[in-house]
């Protein structure tokens, strides 16, 4: 058995979700677009629903990550947290030096 490639976003990585509003199905809810969060852990790979929901057979298989968001970062208020399961291509690393 060959070793799977390491995950792009290890637990604790600060990430940012894409802002893009696609014209097709996606599992990145609107309220979590363009938001900063922290990777909790990988959830296991699955086909990208944005492609497979279009009936296409070429959907890439991507790692899914549980990502934790502070309510304040999602809604501008609140003291709770929200965790979402997000496909890798919904995320980019949130580099502190680019803030």
């Amino acid at each position: 058995m060959t070793d799977a490639p390491p995950d792009r976003f290890p637990p604790g990585t600060r990430v940012r979700t894409f802002r893009h509003d696609p014209p097709h199905h996606t599992r990145l809810p609107r309220y979590a677009r363009g938001k900063r969060g922290v990777v909790v852990e990988p959830e296991g790979p699955d086909e990208l629903p944005d492609i497979s929901a279009q009936g296409r057979g070429d959907a890439p298989v991507e790692q899914i990550y549980a990502v934790r968001f502070a309510a304040r970062d999602l809604w501008g208020e609140g003291d709770h947290h929200v965790v979402l399961d997000l496909w890798e291509s919904y995320l980019e690393e949130d580099r502190q030096d680019e803030r």
Binding site: R27, P29, R30, R68, A71, H80, V82, V83, L84
Partner: protein
């Protein structure tokens, strides 16, 4: 589009139409379909989740396995066999309270909790619990102190979530079966205390 939701009535119409087509084409009979649904629902009940919780309360090693790999741990007890979904069990503690939702549709750990209650699928619950969970939980009769961190798990992929509630006080003398009888469906969703 994620905003492209259908009402229950629309979905029900589609399902009926699909059933009719399948029957007309001779691919399935109504009786066979009923048998399959009955068999599926017979294995899906909140009693399953309650038994898992009671085992976790009485067996520390099982509890550790359940929190580390929910799918494998519930399969030990005969649940979720052959399921392509992953189960993650999230533990309530003195300082953390968990609650589950599916804002995009109505994903739910059906095998462990049975069919979901209608409020779980309502627009009001789905939109509000991610935004103001403390207010929503108060409406369910659960008031949490400010010191408790509320974590909302929004099931957006193939992982299903179940809450491991805190064991009620003064239950030291109860056996596993008696403990399981205390566990309610809403406690497994995170909308009720025990």
């Amino acid at each position: 589009m994620s905003g492209d939701h259908h009402t229950d009535a629309t979905t029900a119409r589609r399902v009926r139409r699909l059933e009719t087509l399948l029957e007309e084409k001779g691919l399935i009979t109504g009786e066979r379909l009923d048998e399959a649904i009955d068999a599926f629902l017979a294995e899906s009940s909140p009693a399953n989740g309650a038994r898992v919780v009671a085992r976790a309360w009485t067996d520390d090693a099982y509890r550790a396995r359940l929190l580390a790999d929910g799918t494998a741990a519930v399969q030990e007890l005969g649940h979720m066999e052959g399921s392509y979904q992953r189960l993650r069990v999230v533990e309530n503690t003195e300082s953390v309270h968990n609650v589950i939702v599916c804002t995009l549709c109505s994903c739910y750990p059906l095998r462990l909790l049975g069919p979901s209650p209608s409020w779980y699928k309502s627009e009001a619950y789905r939109s509000r619990v991610v935004r103001e969970p403390r207010a929503v939980l108060r409406e369910f009769g659960l008031t949490l102190p400010d010191s408790v961190d509320v974590v909302v798990w929004d099931s957006s992929a193939e992982t299903r979530y179940m809450v491991l509630p805190r064991r009620p006080q003064a239950t030291e003398g109860l056996d596993e079966e008696e403990l399981a009888a205390l566990v309610t469906r809403n406690a497994l969703i995170g909308t009720a205390p025990l």
